[in-house]
Structures are given as structure tokens and as C-alpha cells.
């Protein structure tokens, strides 16, 4: 599979502060890689190096075999503005026209209006737009050039729940059509809904990288959730109460359920599902240490 983005042994220093230390990551065609890590881990620095806005102190960053930030590289790349803060005198249509003028084969304005739900706002001046409306423009600008790779820094911050789900569908479709993505987000459902790989960084270093499915499979834990009006000793001993429900994380859910049934406890609304990525990562990293 073709490598579309590659950061090789990148170190970035700001004076005496080392923001990135020997960071390496790779994105292949058709992959959606979530860049994870706590605040101050170096995610934004890594993103800005990929965007060509910052230069590494050492190491290299390449997109499609060209230096990050070069016109040849950026012709195939879409970027969301860091914050959706646009000149208020102009309309979204005027912004999109400016953006598309830089690309050889951009999307049509009509396509962008329809895909990102801009019909109501497209010819209104941005002054007075809500955060969500501005965020939709930011996403449309990112995809305006018909990119092969998009770099999304907190793409759905400020969007309502439905718009977040709408964006997940757009992103999934983009990946399905062979596009690639680098994404940062604080919303775990969004990360799991879009990304198939993760690169976790902490203190500027890569601490974990791999496919989400592989990490979850390696952890192998499931969440058992049930409702019990009058839990007996078995349920209350192994499960944690969450409202009217009881939950437990188990490595062997089949055995657990068999024990539940044989114990004669009364329960309903039983669900068994893999644990979330955030929990899986905690377990995975704890096991590594």
C-alpha cells in the first residue's frame, strides 16, 4: 500500500523545550490514523509539521513523496483551519472560491454546499455565524481541493451531535473511496467511528502505534451490561452499578454469562460488547508496562 504521509525521526525543539523527540509515523493510502495523546503531548506540533507550517529541527516530514508544505504535496492535501475563525466580511461561497482557486481539480462549489449542508448560509456574510456553522465551513474548506489526504485537527468541535454523525459518514465515505486521513480528536466515539489506526504520543515520543482492531483484539475484553431490579450477591459482587444498570468488564464474557444464568439471578436487557478504545488503550498500555 502506498505511503501518503511519513514523519521520520522528527525532533522539534522550541528553545530548550523538546516538543517532539524522534517521532516516526506513517499513513498509507486508505488509512485513517488518529493521533492521540494527552494535552501537551506534541500532537499539534506534529500536525503543524505535516501541514508544512513548522519545520522539524531534525528528521523529515513528507507527503506523497514531497516535503510537507511544498506546493506539490499540498496540491493533494486538505487541512482544516486550527480554529474556525474566518474574515467576517465574506460569505462561505467567497471563501470556497478562494480555496478552490489553488487546486488543479477541486470539487465544485455545489458539491461542497450539498455535502457539508451549507445551503442556508452559503451567501450570507460570516458575521454572526454560530460555532457549528463556522465549523461546517472549515470542513468544506478542507475538502474543497478534492484531496487525497486530509489533516483534521479537532474537526467536529462545536458541532451538534447530529452534525458530528453526519461528518462521520462523510469521513467514512472518503476513506472508503481511497482517501487517507490524519485526525486528532477528544471524542472517543468519533475516533472509533472514523479511524482504523492510532498513533499515540506522549511527551513528544511515539508510545503506541497500530490498528485499532488489533489493539482491541489483543486486549480481548468485553463489557457486560444488564438490568436487575434486585441484584443478588453474584451481580453486586462482580458488577458496578450505573443508574438502573449493572456493568462488568470481563475477558471471558461467555463464562460470565453462564455463571449468571446458573446463579438464578433475575436480570434483563443483557448486552455484551467490546470495550471502548479509551479503556482498551489503558489496559493495553498497562499490560505493556
Amino acid at each position: 500500500m502506498e505511503t501518503v504521509a511519513k514523519i521520520s525521526s522528527v525532533t522539534k525543539q522550541f528553545g530548550k523545550i523538546t516538543a517532539l523527540k524522534d517521532l516516526t509515523m506513517e499513513v498509507k493510502r486508505g488509512q485513517a490514523v488518529a493521533l492521540l495523546g494527552p494535552n501537551g503531548a506534541g500532537k499539534s506540533t506534529a500536525i503543524s509539521i505535516l501541514q508544512g507550517l513548522r519545520k522539524p529541527t531534525s528528521g523529515t516530514a513528507q507527503l506523497f513523496g514531497h516535503p510537507a508544505g511544498s506546493p506539490q504535496a499540498m496540491q493533494k492535501v486538505g487541512v482544516t483551519p486550527q480554529t474556525a475563525d474566518f474574515p467576517v466580511q465574506v460569505t462561505p461561497r467567497e471563501l470556497l472560491k478562494l480555496a478552490t482557486s489553488h487546486f488543479d481539480e477541486p470539487h465544485s462549489i455545489d458539491y461542497l454546499i450539498e455535502t457539508f449542508g451549507l445551503a442556508k448560509t452559503i451567501d450570507r456574510r460570516i458575521h454572526g455565524f454560530s460555532g457549528g456553522e463556522k465549523r461546517r465551513i472549515a470542513l468544506a474548506l478542507c475538502f474543497a481541493g478534492n484531496p487525497d489526504l486530509v489533516i483534521l485537527d479537532e474537526p467536529t468541535t462545536g458541532l451538534d451531535a447530529q452534525s458530528q454523525l453526519d461528518f462521520q459518514v462523510i469521513a467514512q465515505q472518503f476513506i472508503k473511496n481511497g482517501g487517507s486521513m490524519v485526525l486528532t480528536s477528544h471524542y472517543w466515539p468519533e475516533i472509533e467511528g472514523i479511524a482504523d489506526h492510532i498513533t499515540m504520543i506522549d511527551a513528544g515520543k511515539t508510545v503506541l502505534t497500530g490498528a485499532i482492531a488489533d489493539i482491541k483484539a489483543a486486549v480481548g475484553l468485553s463489557r457486560i451490561k444488564l438490568k436487575s431490579p434486585n441484584p443478588g450477591a453474584f451481580i453486586s459482587a462482580n458488577f458496578i452499578q450505573q443508574g438502573s444498570h449493572w456493568t462488568n468488564i470481563a475477558d471471558d464474557s461467555d463464562t460470565h454469562i453462564k455463571q449468571l444464568i446458573s446463579s438464578g439471578e433475575q436480570f434483563s436487557e443483557l448486552t455484551v460488547m467490546p470495550i471502548g478504545l479509551d479503556e482498551a488503550l489503558d489496559v493495553y498500555r498497562a499490560a505493556q508496562h
Binding site: G52, Q82, P87, K97, H102, F103, R125
Partner: protein, 246 residues
């Protein structure tokens, strides 16, 4: 860089500025208005009246280029939108060209208004030769004035730039003899005036009316100021680039 991209940036800059009347109305109208207050009372047929036209044309060009680059760039530097523009392929040159084109266009509109007011209100006219010479001088003057603006834009914060621009430009306009002729300034002020960049700009503009070439001192000072501003801008851009994108 394509023509399509450059035109898109020029159009975008014009739209932004035209929809900000609080910016363009005072900067375009002020020079003509001040000429109407100070210059139009001079005898219409005299050289003093024609010199006043040249002074207010310089005021228009320096004011617009200095304010547009000074305040515009200082505010752009802090804007996430400006950073995003840099991620578009080949955006820096078209964006820069668009800023220059809009500044020169607005400056020329302001110069045109001064000429129109002088003809209509003061009945003072310039010969075609004087007008051509004056327009040429305005283009030349725009170079150090733009560099001065760029220096401010890359040195000051977006919030401080408007106040600093006023603090720098208004005294320089007065000291340079753009509002009142240096000959009627108090001696001390007149001595200071001789050394200001705006005075050299004004001398060059006045020479197109008087028909006498500017003095060597004026041309040397003009060149020295232009070079000094250019070096300052170069240093400040490098500092800014390192700070924001290094």
C-alpha cells in the same frame, strides 16, 4: 502560482476591504477632506495651491499604504485563517500581490479624489505633465511607505498596531510638511522636518510641480530611508517566521 489564484486573492482582498467602510472611508476620504479644509483656501492660480495638492496626494499614498500594511499584516499574523491560507498550495505570492494591488488601487483612488476636489472646489488645476509626474512620484513614494507599514505590521501586535500607526503617521505627516508647508513651521520643528522620511517624500512630490529636480540630500535621504526600512522588514519577517513557523 497561476493567474486564476492571483485574481481570486485580489478579488477576495477587495471584497474584504470594500465591506469594511470603517477602514476605507476615512483613509480614502480624509486626504481630500483635509485638502478642502487647508488647501482650498489658497489662491487658486498660485503655486502654493498646486504644492498643497501634491502634499495631500503624498498624505493619501503614505497614509493608505502605511495603514493597510501596518494594521492589516499585524492583524493577519494573529489570525488562524492566515495560517490556514499558508497550507494552500502556492498561496503566499498571490496573497502578497493582492495586498499590494489593493493598497495601490485605494491609494490611487484617494489621489484621484484630491485632484478632483482641487479642481471642483479650489479651481486649481495641474498641467497634464504635472499630473503624470505626481502620479509617478506617488508610485515611488509608495515603496518606502509600504515598507514602513510592513515594518510596523511585523513588529506590533494586532491590537497595538492601530494606535501605533496613528502615533507614528500623524506626527510624521505634520513634520513632513504634508499639512502645512515647512516654511511656516517654527524653526525647531522645521529643522526636525528636514530629517523625516515624509519630508523627503514630499520634496519629491513638490519637485514635480516646481519642475526643479529634488536635491541630492533629498534623494540620498530617500534612498537611505528606503534601504533602512527594507532591512528592518527583512529582519522582522525572519523573526516572525521563526516565531510562528520555525
Amino acid at each position: 502560482m497561476t493567474m486564476k489564484t492571483t485574481f481570486a486573492h485580489i478579488k477576495f482582498h477587495f471584497i474584504k476591504l470594500l465591506r469594511t467602510p470603517a477602514f476605507w472611508a476615512p483613509t480614502i476620504l480624509f486626504p481630500a477632506m483635509l485638502y478642502a479644509f487647508f488647501g482650498s483656501s489658497l489662491p487658486p492660480a498660485g503655486i502654493a495651491s498646486q504644492m498643497a495638492i501634491a502634499s495631500f496626494c503624498v498624505y493619501a499614498v503614505v497614509g493608505i499604504t502605511f495603514y493597510q500594511f501596518g494594521i492589516g499584516i499585524a492583524q493577519d499574523r494573529e489570525s488562524p485563517f492566515d495560517s490556514w491560507l499558508k497550507t494552500l498550495p502556492n498561496s503566499s505570492k498571490p496573497n502578497g500581490i493582492a495586498q499590494v494591488v489593493t493598497a495601490i488601487t485605494f491609494a490611487m483612488i484617494a489621489v484621484g479624489l484630491v485632484l478632483a476636489v482641487s479642481t471642483v472646489l479650489a479651481k486649481t488645476t495641474l498641467t497634464p505633465q504635472m499630473i503624470i509626474g505626481l502620479l509617478g512620484a506617488c508610485v515611488l513614494i509608495a515603496i518606502p511607505a509600504s515598507l514602513m507599514g510592513l515594518a510596523l505590521g511585523f513588529a506590533a501586535s494586532g491590537r497595538a498596531a492601530p494606535a501605533l500607526a496613528n502615533l507614528i503617521f500623524l506626527p510624521l505627516a505634520f513634520l513632513g510638511g504634508l499639512w502645512i508647508p515647512p516654511i511656516i513651521m517654527p524653526e525647531v520643528v522645521g529643522n526636525i522636518s528636514t530629517w523625516t522620511p515624509t519630508r523627503q517624500m514630499a520634496e519629491i512630490a513638490w519637485s514635480t510641480i516646481s519642475g526643479q529636480a529634488p536635491s541630492n540630500f533629498t534623494m540620498m535621504m530617500f534612498a537611505a530611508y528606503t534601504a533602512a526600512f527594507a532591512i528592518l522588514v527583512y529582519v522582522l519577517i525572519a523573526r516572525d517566521k521563526n516565531k510562528r513557523f520555525g
